[in-house]
């Protein structure tokens, strides 16, 4: 039996005294899947993503990613977990303005202790594969939104993580750039990369994922394979 990349069981997370942002959430993602988490604002999408990324801990339930019990990790361990097991792509790119494109991409590898030369080689490969290698020595502020998101994807993949998490990856892009990024994610998935995309954009979900999970009021409402989410 294939070991899941992500396995959430009966996860609950509430903030302060408000209603739970997530409750009774269970979810399994297998290797090679591309999963879209859909839902309106306040549905618990970001909470779910934060729990998978080890940025937050559930009040109850378990979160296991690539064999790691993420809900049990301390701060340092969860940082090491993020380096090794996941790559993250954000809506607003979160590239560091004072570093060049290449330096942005090599940063996670260097934090993980990879030698500088090796990290730069890996970054060059990724930037080339994603079509932004000519911008390697440019600062992110000079790139278009689509180019920035490609750089962000390169950075997310530099440590060869088994899981790529993307939080509204086209949310800050014009439609043309959005389609480019969507196609890129689909390509990566086609190459075997497991991807979880959090979005409220149904078109993105359709174009680059093989499965759609709909969250409503903090719980999984629908879990549909490709072609059924409409």
């Amino acid at each position: 039996m294939t070991t899941p990349v992500i396995e959430l069981r009966d996860v609950r997370r509430a903030y302060d005294d408000g209603p739970p942002a997530l409750h009774d959430a269970s979810l399994t993602v297998l290797p090679g899947e591309a999963v879209a988490i859909l839902g309106p604002s306040g549905s618990g999408k970001s909470t779910l993503l934060n729990l998978i990324a080890g940025l937050d801990r559930p009040d109850s339930g378990t979160v296991t990613v690539a064999g790691v019990r993420v809900d049990r990790l301390g701060e340092a361990a969860s940082a090491r977990y993020r380096r090794a097991k996941i790559g993250m792509v954000f809506q607003f790119f979160n590239l560091l303005d004072d570093l060049t494109v290449a330096d942005n991409v090599v940063l996670p590898a260097q934090l993980a202790g990879m030698a500088r030369a090796e990290a730069r080689k890996r970054a060059a490969e990724l930037l080339g594969a994603l079509g932004v290698d000519r911008h390697a020595d440019t600062y992110p502020g000079r790139l278009s939104g689509g180019e920035r998101q490609r750089v962000a994807v390169a950075r997310a993949l530099v440590n060869r993580p088994p899981l790529l998490l993307a939080d509204e990856p086209t949310g800050a892009l014009d439609s043309a750039s959005g389609e480019e990024v969507s196609a890129l994610l689909a390509e990566l998935n086609a190459d075997g990369q497991t991807i979880v995309v959090v979005t409220h954009d149904l078109a993105l979900a359709k174009s680059c994922t093989t499965r759609t999970i709909r969250l409503v009021d903090g719980h999984v409402d629908d879990d549909l394979t490709a072609g059924t989410a409409r």
């Binding site: 940025l55 701060e75 004072d98 570093l99 940063l107 934090l111």
Partner: protein, 793 residues
């Protein structure tokens, strides 16, 4: 509540870290300023202040009770020019003996019913005033061994030579700036201390309408003594003489305290200005929001000035209290040294510091907010959303190539991205490092001074090498409680020399004899110390020239050269018991005893000098106690004894300076660290989103800490590198100023105290200050939750 009021309240409440930093920085700066300001005021004419506080006597006159009547003396208080008078008080000179049977130096005892009055309002430091017949109050200046570390209360002083052998109990310790007595008793007790057949004298204390010059005091003296038989006036003392003496005693400390006081004040202004400017600058986006909502630039300015003033006012209040608490013990020590009456912080210092702190905060906040208020709303709103100016990118690129962990190189280039902030931190570190360097240098210099003063060092002594005995007195108890004795006149000096030489443990020895001589041009005699033997181990330090090598050659202290207008190489004529002896000055020696007027020479320079003491150095490994026992038995026929030399300890003044240095350095380093803390807090708050990104990419808390700490490494190293020479330069100014103020030259070893290895360590001190200042925000950055940081704009 008005819209402006709400904005101020929410600004203070929501931006808690910055509010706390402004409050803390103001508190520390105000505390340092109170301390610095107090030291400056305490150092400004301390004698004059103490004299004014106590209504000191411009002239004190002692009248022989057998040659003048009480009525005559009483009438003198009504003389022309006298504005106030105290007395006549009955007074006697009496020699006491302590419970161990040691004779104490004679005391001037005055009968006073109470310590107050229009003139010479004596300050009771501890205990109570003497009211009973068996009670006595000692003066803190009394030459009877007042140990500052022990309460004198309850000490018994016996007067065995007086009828009935009265024994008095010390019930209080008091200070008279006018130094009118060694001790005070109730008026009725004077009779018990008066020798049979003699009459107690009178002491009268006067204040004059004009007493600023020696001529005016002399005119006053002439007026008050006009009605008293001339032969009855047994002594007068002008306050000008006392002021001169006090100035000489306290001068050493003034340049040192002024240096630290100014450092404290400058740092306070720097830190408060920097903190407030940084806090307002960090709120630019909020200013944009306020303007977008319709606030005018003037309202924005008012809101931010008020936002800075609220925590600053609280910090100022805390700082004033803390500053007073820190200053009190320091001032108590300076009070003891200055002989001042009070040890309280001058209220004016508190008022000025509070006003200045609030003005600095308001002006800095106004200037920063005014600049921010004039920004276009759209620009202010864009702050934090768009990439900042492209500063520091080259540094970041270069740093990324260093063979260091990435978490470290990320931090190393930070100062270049925010140069103004880095310069402010740098300034704080430079001041802190300079203060530490100055403090270390002063401590080393003072150790050298102590070591240079502590000559006549020996392992074993016979008699006391540092003699302070009146002629004919064999032994007394010295002011520090030690017995001072001399080798008896009847002892055979050659036999003593032979006995010392016969001891197998003897390495070297010399003898010293002391006799006053009159030097041409000087009114008071100068003590000549005549040496025989090997003086090389005695520890005398030369300022210039060389030690004497033959009879007829002398070395003298700087004060002697100044007083006589001579220089090394000159000759001087000595009148030794009517015989003229011409000597050549071959060296300037560092010595402050005998008011720096001692003369050091070969014993053969003067005739018939009899050694008063012997100093012996024993061979390494010798059992000193066994040596003393053996030598003692050999000396028995000479009626003298040997004893193991005891350390004389460090002088009170030097201990005081060391204590004050430590306190001031700690305060200044804390203020410098706070300057760094502020800069790093602003930086980490500003970069909290980037910190979130780093963490999301896998930066561990330890790596985050390393990034924040390494962001101050360059600033710390450069600050140390600049602060150390600055501190050395300050030391180079302060030490000679202290020496000049003390009226003496000093050996070169006192000035050249910094060793290369020590300088490297001091330079690293800048780094330590920087890292200590950055620790708190580094911990905060490490603990920041990634998801929260990522949400922060």
């Amino acid at each position: 509540m008005s819209a402006l009021g709400r904005v101020v309240r929410s600004g203070v409440g929501r931006r808690r870290v910055q509010t706390a930093v402004i409050g803390l920085a103001t508190a520390m700066a105000v505390a340092a300023a109170v301390l610095g300001g107090s030291l400056l005021t305490a150092s400004a004419a301390p004698f004059d202040h103490a004299f004014d506080d106590q209504h000191g006597a411009h002239l004190s006159v002692r009248v022989d009770g057998e040659k003048a009547t009480a009525a005559q003396v009483e009438a003198s208080t009504k003389a022309s020019g006298v504005t106030a008078a105290a007395g006549p008080f009955a007074t006697v000179t009496a020699a006491a003996r302590d419970k161990d049977g040691h004779d104490l130096p004679p005391l001037t005892v005055v009968g006073r019913a109470d310590p107050g009055g229009a003139v010479d309002a004596v300050t009771l430091l501890t205990g109570a005033w003497a009211t009973g017949p068996d009670q006595i109050v000692l003066s803190s200046d009394a030459p009877v061994g007042v140990d500052p570390s022990r309460s004198p209360l309850g000490r018994q002083l016996a007067f065995p030579d007086l009828p009935g052998s009265p024994t008095l109990t010390v019930v209080g310790l008091a200070r008279s700036v006018s130094r009118t007595a060694g001790a005070w008793v109730a008026p009725s007790t004077i009779a018990r201390l008066t020798r049979p057949g003699s009459t107690a004298g009178f002491q009268v204390l006067y204040r004059f309408a004009a007493a600023d010059t020696a001529e005016q005091v002399e005119a006053g003296r002439a007026a008050v003594t006009a009605g008293i038989p001339a032969e009855a006036v047994s002594g007068t003392r002008s306050w000008l003489t006392l002021r001169q003496e006090a100035a000489r005693e306290t001068a050493l400390l003034v340049p040192f305290l002024v240096a630290f006081g100014v450092l404290g004040l400058v740092m306070s202004v720097l830190i408060v200005g920097n903190v407030v400017a940084g806090a307002v600058g960090a709120g630019l986006r909020r200013i944009g929001v306020l303007k977008a909502l319709g606030f005018t630039p003037a309202q924005v300015v008012r809101a931010h000035v008020a936002q800075a003033l609220v925590p600053a006012a609280i910090g100022t209040a805390v700082g004033v209290v803390a500053g007073n608490l820190v200053a009190l013990p320091v001032l108590a020590e300076t009070r003891d040294l200055y002989g001042a009456a009070t040890a309280a912080v001058d209220p004016l210092v508190n008022v000025v510091v509070v006003a200045a702190a609030l003005v600095v905060v308001a002006v800095t906040a106004w200037a920063s907010a005014w600049r921010a208020g004039r920004l276009r709303t759209v620009d202010a709103l864009a702050v934090g959303r768009t990439g900042g100016p492209a500063r520091g990118r080259l540094a970041a690129a270069l740093a990324s190539r260093l063979p260091l962990p990435r978490s470290v190189t990320l931090g190393l280039s930070r100062p270049f991205a925010r140069p103004a902030r880095a310069v402010a931190m740098l300034a704080a570190i430079v001041f802190g490092a300079a203060a530490v360097t100055l403090a270390v240098g002063l401590a080393a210099s003072l150790t050298e001074v102590q070591s240079a003063l502590d000559h006549d060092t020996a392992d074993v002594t016979i008699g006391s090498p540092d003699l302070r005995l009146p002629p004919g007195v064999q032994a007394v108890q010295g002011p520090d409680g030690r017995t001072i004795s001399r080798v008896p006149d009847t002892a055979d000096r050659a036999a003593i020399d032979a006995a010392i030489d016969a001891q197998p443990g003897t390495l070297a020895h010399y003898s010293k004899a002391t006799r006053p001589v009159v030097v041409a041009g000087l009114s008071s005699p100068c003590p000549v110390s005549g040496f025989t033997g090997d003086v090389s181990f005695a520890g005398y330090r030369m300022i210039s020239g060389r030690w004497f090598t033959a009879p007829g050659e002398v070395v003298v202290p700087s004060t002697f050269l100044t007083a006589t207008g001579t220089a090394v190489g000159d000759t001087a004529a000595l009148d030794d018991q009517g015989r003229s002896v011409v000597v050549r000055i071959v060296g300037e020696v560092f010595d402050t005893r005998d008011d720096g007027m001692g003369i050091f020479t070969d014993a053969a320079t003067l005739s018939d000098l009899k050694a008063d003491s012997y100093s012996i150095a024993v061979r390494p490994g010798t059992d000193v106690a066994g040596y003393v026992t053996a030598l003692d038995s050999a000396l028995r026929p000479q009626s003298t004894t040997a004893e193991a030399a005891t350390s004389r300890g460090t002088s009170d003044t030097l201990l005081l300076i060391a204590g004050i240095t430590a306190t001031l350095t700690l305060v200044l380093v804390a203020v410098a660290g706070l300057g760094v803390l502020n800069g790093v807090v602003l930086d980490t708050r500003e970069r909290v989103h980037d910190i979130g990104v780093h963490k999301a990419l896998g930066m561990t808390p330890r790596q985050t800490t390393a990034t924040v700490l390494s962001s101050v490494v360059l600033v710390g190293l450069v600050g140390g590198a600049l602060g150390v020479p600055a501190g050395m330069a300050l030391h180079g100014e302060v030490m000679p100023a202290m020496a000049r103020a003390a009226g003496t030259g000093m050996p070169s070893t006192v000035f050249t105290v910094y060793h290369p290895a020590e300088l490297v360590l001091l330079g690293l001190g800048g780094l330590v200050i920087a890292v200590l200042g950055a620790l708190l925000p580094a911990g905060w950055a490490a603990r920041t939750r990634t998801a929260t940081a990522l949400r922060t704009e």
